[in-house]
C-alpha cells in the first residue's frame, strides 16, 4: 500500500487521532494485515506515537501484524453453533486448508479463525468466508464451499 492511499484514508477521517481505529480498520481490510511502514506513516501523519499504535494494533482482534491469507475463514464456535456440530465443521476446514485456528497457509490463500458469534445463531453451524455467511453447514458442504475459492 502506497503512502498516497494511506494519506487518502487519513484525509477521509479528517486526520483526527481519535479516528485511529477506523483508519487501521480500513488499512487492514485492504491489505489483510498492518505492514510496519503503513503504521509508521499513520503515526507520523496523526502525530500518535508508534508505541500507542502498536498497543492498539495488538489489543484488537481485527488487526494482524503478520501477513494474512486472501480469504478469511471464520468458524463460529459460539454456544448455538457448538451444540449443532461446529467442531466437525472446524475439523473439515482444517483438513481442506491444512491450517488450524489462528494460522495462515504458506500460499497466503486461507487464514482460519474461530469466532464466538457472528450473530446468526438460528443458522448454526455458521462459517463466514470474507464476511459472506454460510449457514446450517455440514462437513461436506464446508469442503465444497472452500474448494470454490481460488
Amino acid at each position: 500500500m502506497g503512502n498516497d492511499r494511506i494519506d487518502e484514508i487519513i484525509q477521509k477521517h479528517h486526520g483526527e487521532a481519535s479516528a485511529l481505529i477506523q483508519i487501521l480498520l480500513e488499512i487492514q481490510s485492504e491489505e489483510h494485515w498492518l505492514p510496519r511502514e503503513a503504521l509508521e506513516r499513520v503515526s507520523e501523519k496523526l502525530g500518535v506515537p508508534m508505541a500507542r499504535i502498536q498497543h492498539v494494533a495488538t489489543f484488537y482482534k481485527a488487526f494482524s501484524l503478520v501477513p494474512k491469507g486472501r480469504h478469511a475463514v471464520h468458524v463460529c464456535m459460539g454456544t448455538a453453533c457448538h451444540v449443532r456440530g461446529a467442531q466437525r465443521v472446524l475439523d473439515t476446514v482444517q483438513d481442506v486448508t491444512g491450517v488450524g485456528p489462528g494460522e495462515t497457509d504458506l500460499d497466503l490463500k486461507f487464514s482460519v479463525e474461530t469466532v464466538n458469534c457472528v450473530g446468526c445463531c438460528a443458522l448454526g453451524p455458521v462459517v463466514e468466508i470474507n464476511k459472506k455467511t454460510f449457514g446450517k453447514m455440514t462437513p461436506a458442504e464446508t469442503a465444497d464451499v472452500l474448494k470454490s475459492y481460488e
Binding site: 498497543h55 489489543f59 484488537y60 482482534k61 481485527a62 454456544t79 464466538n116 458469534c117 443458522l123
Partner: protein, 431 residues
Amino acid sequence: MACLHSPGDLEKRRNELAARRAAGTPCVSVCAGAGCVASGAAEVIAAFRAELAAAGLAAEIDVKGTGCPGFCERGPVVVLYPEETCYLQVKPEDVPEIVARTLRGKEVVERLVYRDPATGELAVREGDIPFYKHQERLLLGVNIRLDPKSLDDYLALGGYAALAKALFEMTPQAVLDEIKKSNLRGRGGGGFPAGRKWEGSRDAPGDPKYVIVNADEGDPGAFMDRALLEGNPHSILEGLIIGGYTVGAHEGYIYVRQEYPLAVENINLAIRQAEEHGLLGQNILGSGFDFTVTVHQGAGAFVCGESTALMTALEGRAGEPRPKYIRSNLKGLWDRPSVLNNVETWANVPLIINRGADWFTRYGTPGSKGTKIFSLVGKITNTGLVEVPMGMTLRDIVYTIGGGIPGGKAFKAVQTGGPSGGLTSSPRPGR
C-alpha cells in the same frame, strides 16, 4: 424529496406518502436480514423483481428487502400484503408459482405456509403463526414492513413523529419526566433506569455532553441489537436525537461491533438521509436544535461492550475498562458527561414519546416495563428472535413460543443473558 423545515413539512410529506400507498396496495416483503441472506434471500428478491417485470406487474406491486422479523431459521421469509400471507423457506424456484397463484389468483400456496407440527393446522397470516402469536412485538413487528434503506418507509409508518413532538411540544424536562415515568430500564444487561442516567448527565457540569449507542453486542448467541440496527436504523437514530435534546448533547456516537458490516452500512445511510432531510444536523426541523452523529466501527474485543472500555475505544485508544468509581454518565467520553445506552433501550424511546408512558407501562411487571427481545437459539424447535413482555416465564418462552425441545426430548438447561448470565437447569423452568 425536499428538506423538511418544520413539523408541518414532515406531516405533509407523511400524508403524501400515505396517499400514494393507500391501504390495500399490494406489496411483497422479503426479509433481507443477515440470516435470510445467508439462506438465499437476495436471489428470492431478484426472482420476484424479474417475475413481476415479466408479468407486467412491476409498476403495481412493490418488492422490498426488509429487516429481520425474527424467524430466521425458517428463512427466507416472505410476507405478501395486504393479506399478510406469510411464506417460509422460499426458494427462487417458488417465485413464479407465488406470483401466478397468490398475487394474481389470490390463492394460498399451502406448501410454503407454516404448518403446526402437532396439529397439522396451517397458519397463513404472519400473526397467526404460533411463534409470533404469543409475542408482543412492539419493536420487531415493524421490521418486515419496512426497507431499512428507505426513509420514506420509516416516515410512512409514523417515523420521526416522536422527534417532532419532543422538539416542538415538549421541553427537555417534559421528555425526561416521560422517560422516568415509563420506568424504561437499560436493555444492555445492567437494567439501570434510563431516566435516572439521563438526568445525571443533564445535571452534571461540563460541556459538550455526549449520547452514545452501545451496539457492541458481544454475547455469543445474541443478535437482537443487530436486527434492530440493520432492520430499523432510523428508529435508533430518532431515539438518540431525542436523548441528545433531553440531556443537552449535540453530538452522538454509535459504536457498532466489527462483525456487523450491514448494520454499519444501514446506519450510515440512515444518517445521510436524515441529514439531507433536515432531521439531523443544524436546526433540526426548524427547531433551532443541532445534533450530529458519528458511527464508530469496533475492531473486535469482547470487553469493549463495557461502558468505560467502549468510551476509551471511541477516543481511538485500546479499550480497557477504567476504574468504576468514576461514573461515566458524569465523566465519560473525553471526560465529559456521556449517556450510554444499549440499542434496544434507544429503540424504545420514540415509542414512549409517541404513545406515552402510561401506554408503555401497561406491558411488563411492576418492576420492569415494556418488552424485551431475546434470541432463542440452540436445541429448540423454533429458533430466532422473540419479543415478549418483561416478566414472561422462561417456560412460556421455551415451550409456547419456542415449541419445546425437538423430538420431544427432555429439557436440560437454558442459558440466559450470555456468558455473564446464568444457567438454569430446572426440568420445568419457572422463570
